[in-house]
């Protein structure tokens, strides 16, 4: 779990850089993350954070099991991870696990060109195919941000709302991962809050 905490902090800066960088692949020197902006006119880079990825309990780091297991890249039905396999509906016809998970190192994800991204930056993986959503998400139009409209914000990752193995949105719930509160997608629809009182139900 200690790895994960360090990565969360690193990802804050990484996210800032990701948002500042142009969409083109290849790192560019981004403006350093500055303090919260108080005026609309001056635009120092706004410090942003990401929510923590909602790992299932005890599943991370993956290498705790996979370091010793055989690395078999053949597409097949797995003996383990039935929780994900049974619901898998992310272009199931063409895609399977190792299109996103790295064969050699299960503690990271892999982009199309084989480059690794940490789980805290999974949006870079999603954004490869879902470029328009990624563009909207960086601008704050898609997905959720909390914090200051005029200052530091926290972005919710794609996976905070979309289960990567069954991405169509159904519901979300608050969970605790590694002692930290975050949000995880559910497989059931959200139950709405109670309906308002009708006017005739209001009595002195």
């Amino acid at each position: 779990m200690g790895h994960w905490m360090a990565w969360a902090r690193e990802s804050a800066l990484a996210l800032a850089l990701a948002l500042a960088a142009s969409p083109a692949a290849g790192a560019e020197a981004a403006r350093p993350a500055g303090g919260p902006g108080t005026k609309a006119e001056a635009r120092p880079e706004v410090l942003v954070e990401a929510e923590a990825p909602p790992f299932s309990e005890g599943i991370f780091p993956c290498s705790s099991c996979h370091a010793d297991l055989e690395k078999n890249g053949t597409r097949r039905e797995l003996a383990f991870h039935d929780e994900q396999q049974s619901i898998f509906s992310h272009d199931a016809e063409h895609r399977w696990c190792l299109d996103c998970h790295d064969l050699q190192n299960r503690d990271v994800l892999r982009l199309a060109n084989g480059a690794h991204v940490p789980f805290t930056e999974s949006y870079r993986l999603c954004g490869q195919c879902h470029g328009d959503k990624f563009r909207d998400w960086r601008a704050g139009v898609h997905g959720k941000r909390v914090g200051m409209w005029d200052g530091p914000k926290t972005y919710f990752l794609c996976v905070n709302c979309h289960n990567p193995h069954s991405p169509r949105f159904k519901g979300v719930e608050e969970v605790v991962v590694g002692g930290k509160k975050t949000v995880a997608p559910t497989l059931t629809l959200i139950k709405p809050e109670p309906r308002p009182h009708r006017p005739e139900e209001m009595r002195p």
Binding site: K191, P196, P204
Partner: protein, 315 residues
């Protein structure tokens, strides 16, 4: 209009232009003094608070008077709820025009926004139950059609098949019919776009409620029922301070949060990120990006209210 407000707000900000005045102050001052003398004599025996009774309109208060008014509100909160509260009166920031975006392709009708607003803004819980946000369940085959909408929907899970959801709250119109109709100037539009109400000036005539096309204004038909344990102590005079009986209230874009740079409570709680908020004058803001890239419309556009609340479909 920039408030000559308490020193901890807007340090270093220059006031652009004179504040707007409802009436010529010199003439009013003379008449008020004449009226004051007789009124004090007549009414002090009734136990009425003289300073309250002879108070000026909010926009005419000097900083000292405003400070006393805010202190009085805090005292009343203490007496009514037994809790310490902070009541501020931050003015609008220069260069800010708030815009709100609501993504109809995302809202699932969970009503979390309704109740987050209730908790944040200290609304009466029941008898009367006041919700500043009302979520309409609409039918996909009819589109945005009020005659086929339902506010009182109940379900085990949302969205229900064939339905979509249309939340409505104050649209902070640029041409607000409520401000036009109010006979006492108890409601007015601030420079950042928020239409505010001074709950101590409202006479409860409900002209504004008849005039509002969005059903966004709500009346305290009785003394609000607000449990002391659930009171939000971080308050704004024109926003979420507890209201008395017999006055109108409505969404203020969480003025106590947004003037400090924070998102409104509804934006923060929405689980699907359907709510967008920011400064329309900032080209980098999410709301500007929404306006520029999405198909945006306003509710009841034919009434030319020019809201600062925009509905859109992100997909």
């Amino acid at each position: 209009m920039t408030r000559k407000s308490l020193p901890l707000i807007e340090a270093g900000e220059a006031a652009p232009g004179a504040p707007e005045r409802p009436l010529d102050p010199a003439r009013r001052a003379f008449l008020r003094t004449a009226a004051a003398g007789s009124a004090v004599a007549a009414l002090s025996s009734c136990g009425l608070d003289m300073e309250d009774f002879l108070r000026k309109h909010f926009k005419e208060l000097s900083p000292a008077e405003l400070g006393r008014v805010l202190a009085k509100v805090e005292q009343r909160n203490q007496a009514r709820f037994g809790r310490k509260t902070t009541v501020r009166a931050d003015g609008p920031r220069p260069g800010v025009e708030f815009g709100y975006g609501l993504d109809l392709s995302r809202c699932v009708g969970c009503r979390r926004c309704v109740y987050a607003c209730v908790r944040e803004n200290n609304q009466s819980r029941e008898h009367p139950q006041i919700h500043w946000i009302r979520v309409l369940e609409m039918e996909k085959e009819h589109g945005v059609d009020l005659a086929h909408s339902e506010i009182y929907y109940e379900a085990e899970g949302v969205p229900r098949p064939g339905k979509f959801y249309f939340p409505v709250q104050c649209q902070q119109c640029r041409n607000p019919p409520c401000v036009k109709a109010c006979p006492t100037q108890a409601t007015w539009k601030e420079k950042d776009g928020i239409v505010v109400i001074d709950y101590d000036w409202c006479i409860g005539c409900r002209c504004c409620m008849s005039a509002c096309p969005y059903g966004a204004r709500h009346f305290n038909w009785a003394t609000p029922n607000l449990p002391a344990a659930e009171l939000n102590p971080d308050q704004h005079y024109l926003g979420n301070r507890p209201r008395p009986k017999g006055v109108v209230e409505k969404c203020t874009f969480c003025i106590q949060r947004t003037r400090q740079g924070r998102y409104p409570a509804c934006v923060e709680v929405c689980p699907v990120g359907a709510r967008k908020f920011g400064n329309l004058l900032d080209p980098e803001s999410e709301i500007r990006k929404v306006m520029e890239t999405k198909r945006v419309f306003v509710f009841k556009e034919e009434l030319a209210t020019h809201p600062q609340f925009y509905y859109f479909y992100a997909t």
